[in-house]
Symmetry: C2
Subunit: 444 residues, 2 copies
Amino acid sequence: MTPPSSVLLTDLYQLTMLQAYVEHGMEAPAVFEFFVRKLPPQRAFLMTAGLDQALDFLETLRFAEWELDWLARSGRCSRSFVDYLAGLRFAGEVHAMPEGTICFPHEPLLRVTAPLPQAQLMETRLINLLHFQTMIASKAARLVLLAKGKPLIDFGLRRAHGEEAGLLAARASYLAGFAGSATVLAGARFGVPLYGTMAHSFIQAHEDEAAAFEHFAETHPGNVVLLLDTYDTEAAASKVVALAARLRHKGLTIAGVRLDSGDLADHARKVRHILDEGGLTETKIIVSGNIDESALRRLVESGAPIDTYAVGTHVTTSSDAPYLDCAYKLQEYAGRPRRKRSEGKATWPGRKQVYRQYGSDGRMASDLVTVADDPQEGEALLQPVMRAGRRLAPPGPCDAIRAKASADLARLPEPLRELRDGATYPVRISQALQDLAKAVDERR
Amino acid sequence: MTPPSSVLLTDLYQLTMLQAYVEHGMEAPAVFEFFVRKLPPQRAFLMTAGLDQALDFLETLRFAEWELDWLARSGRCSRSFVDYLAGLRFAGEVHAMPEGTICFPHEPLLRVTAPLPQAQLMETRLINLLHFQTMIASKAARLVLLAKGKPLIDFGLRRAHGEEAGLLAARASYLAGFAGSATVLAGARFGVPLYGTMAHSFIQAHEDEAAAFEHFAETHPGNVVLLLDTYDTEAAASKVVALAARLRHKGLTIAGVRLDSGDLADHARKVRHILDEGGLTETKIIVSGNIDESALRRLVESGAPIDTYAVGTHVTTSSDAPYLDCAYKLQEYAGRPRRKRSEGKATWPGRKQVYRQYGSDGRMASDLVTVADDPQEGEALLQPVMRAGRRLAPPGPCDAIRAKASADLARLPEPLRELRDGATYPVRISQALQDLAKAVDERR
C-alpha cells in the first residue's frame, strides 16, 4: 500500500564506489555488519527494530526506468554501468537479531554477506531504516518500563520527522510495548490499535463546550472520549457529568476524558473526584502534553488516578537522544577479515556472533561478542533471516515481536529495568576476536 | 516521481471530529493558523521551509479506493461519512510566509481558510511537513552563518528519521544556504547539487590503500576526491601526492581529499602542508565527522586550511533541538474569532498578519503581529499563495528561495547573525490584537 522507496534514496558515493568496483572486477563476497558504536548518555540499553522494513528493502530493490534515465543523463555514470544497475538485485544472505531484542554497543545487529557491490549499495538505506526504528523502540521501551503496566499511546505523528518517521515510530513504539497509536496509517499498514480523542478546535468551533461534548457523543456513541482543558478543566468535568446523566437514558456512557495542560496529576485528582461523585467511576482519565521519561516517572510515582498516558513528540523524535552513533562497516572481503583503524572509530574485524548468558534467576547476565565460528555457551543472538535475496520466513506478526520485546524487558537486570543512573551491562570481546584484530593489524 | 503520501497519514481524531462536523452541518468557513509557540533554548530565530510540500499536499489530497474501503471495514466511519470522504477535496485559501523567511514565535507562518472539515483534516500532515523543514532550515541557517562563506554539504541521510526526512532535510538545508547534499534523490527531485567522496569500506576492500585511490581515480577522472583517514591520515596524504605525479601524465588531477576523524584542524594543517609540498596546491580539503555548531565555530576560528565542511546527523536531525513547540490552531469559525485558553498554551485569536520593520541600516528592527485587517507600516510577511484549492503560482525554483533566505540572513540584527548567547528579537502584539483577545474572552 505504501510504494517502495526510490533506490536513489542513497548517498552519491555508493554509486561512485560501485562503478569503480564493477569496472575493476571487485565483486567477491563481502561481509558488512550494522552496529552501534556507543550509547547516548541517556541510554543503558537498546532494543532492535526495523528488520522487517530492511528485508523488504533488500528483497524489492531495483532501479526503475526513470532512475536509470536520470543517472544516464546526470553524466555521473557510464552507459555500461547504468546497464549493470538495470540488472542489479540483492542476492545475498542476511543474519540478524530478531526485532524486539535488547542489544548493546559493539554487537552486530545485522550482518550482510553478498558480492561487494550489492552489499555496499545497501548501506545508506539499511542504516536509515535500522537506525530509526531501533532508536524509537529503545526510547519507547524506557517509557514502557516507567509506566508500570499503565497503557501508553503514541500521539506524535505531527512532530515526527516526516511521513515515514511518523508511520514507523508508531510501529516501533508498538513493538516495544505501547498499547497503540493515533496514526491511522499505522493501523491500516501494521494493525497497530488506534486511539484518538478530539482536538481543542472541536470545542472552540462550537459556541458552547457542552454542546461540543454532546455532538461528539451522538456521532461516536461507542467511544466517547472528551477533551477537558480548552477553557477550564474542572468546569468541563462537571459538564461531562451532566451530559452523562442525559446520555444514560439512551444507554450511552462516557468512555474517557483527556487532560492536556497544567499540572496533570492535580487535575487528574480533581477530575477523578468530580467524575466519581457524578457516578462516572468507569470513565477513564487519559493525559497528554509534553510527557517524557521524567514527567512520566513523576506522574506514576504521584499515584495520580491516571489510566492512560499519551506520549507525542518525545517518543517519535526520541527527543533526548535523536540519533544513535551507529555504522555499517566492511568486516571481510574476499575471505579476509578487514578493519578500519580511524582514530576513535576502530572496528572489530571479521564476521561475528553475540552470545547472551543468563543468570540462575533467568535475568540477562552478560554478552560475549566473538567470531562467528567460535561456538559458546548461551543464546546466539544473530540468526539467518535471508538467503539468496529471499526471506527465510514471511514477516512475523507484530504480536510475536511484542511478546519477544516484553520477555527481553522482563529479563533485563534490575538496575537497567529501573533506568537507574549509571547502570551498565557487561559486554565482553572474546579472546578469539581480539586475536583476530591483532592479526589483521599485523598483516598490513 | 515520489508518490503522494496516504491521506491516512493523519491522527484518528481528525476523522472522528470530521464525522461529527459533517453530521451536525458544521461546514462554515474556519480559519486555522500554524505558528511556533516558543523557541527551543538553542534558537534565537527560525527560517520557514516546507510550504511547497504543504501546498502539494493540499492540492492533491483525496481518498484512494483502498483507503475508503479500509475505513468502511474498520467500523469507525458511517457509510454516509465514507461517501463524503470520497468526494472530499481541499478548496480553501492559504496565506503564508514565503519559504526562506526568518520568523519568530507567535507569528503565523501559514493561514488556512476553508470549510471547517477541510481545514481540520489537514492539521496533522500540514504540521508534519511545515514543522520538519522549518526546523531543519533553522538549524542549517545557523551553520551557514558560522561557516563564514565556506561551503557546507549535507551528508546526513543515513541517520535522518526515515526516507522523507532524509530527502526533505537535503532540500531544507539547501534552501537555507548549504551548497548541496550527498542524497542522490534530492538531486533528482529538487535539483540539489550532489557531492560525494568514498567510504572507508572502499579503501578496506582493497589490499592496498594506494591501489584503492588509483582505482577510484581511473573510474572517476573528472572528480577524484579521496578519503584519507582509514589507517593513517598523513601517510595517506603522501600516497595522494605520489598518485598525483603518476596521474599528471594522463592529464588528471586530484580534486579533493576528505578527513573524517581525529583532530580535524590539526590533520588539515598537516595534510595541506604535504599536499602543497607535493605541488597539489589546488586540491581541496573536505572535513566531516560529528560537526555541529560548536565544532564548526572552532574549526573556522582556528583558521585551519579547510575548504568544505560536510555536516551529517546534526543537521538532518536538528540534534540539539529535534522538535519545535508548534501548533495549528482554530482562530476563527463562522466569522467569529476563537481562542484556546489552556494553561500555558493560550493562543491569540482571529486571522492575523505580521509586519516587519527595518532600520535605517536595512537590518530587521522589529515585528508586529496584528489582526489581518489592520494595515501597518513595514513589510507584510503573509501573502496569498492558494485560492479555491489551487496554487496562485507554480512552485518557485530553489534558487529563488535560496536568494530570499540569504537576503533575510543578511538582514538579521548582528547579535542574532553571530549566534550570540541570549540574543533576542522584538516581536510585539498589537493593541488591536490584545483588544480582540479580551473581547473573545468576555464573550464566553
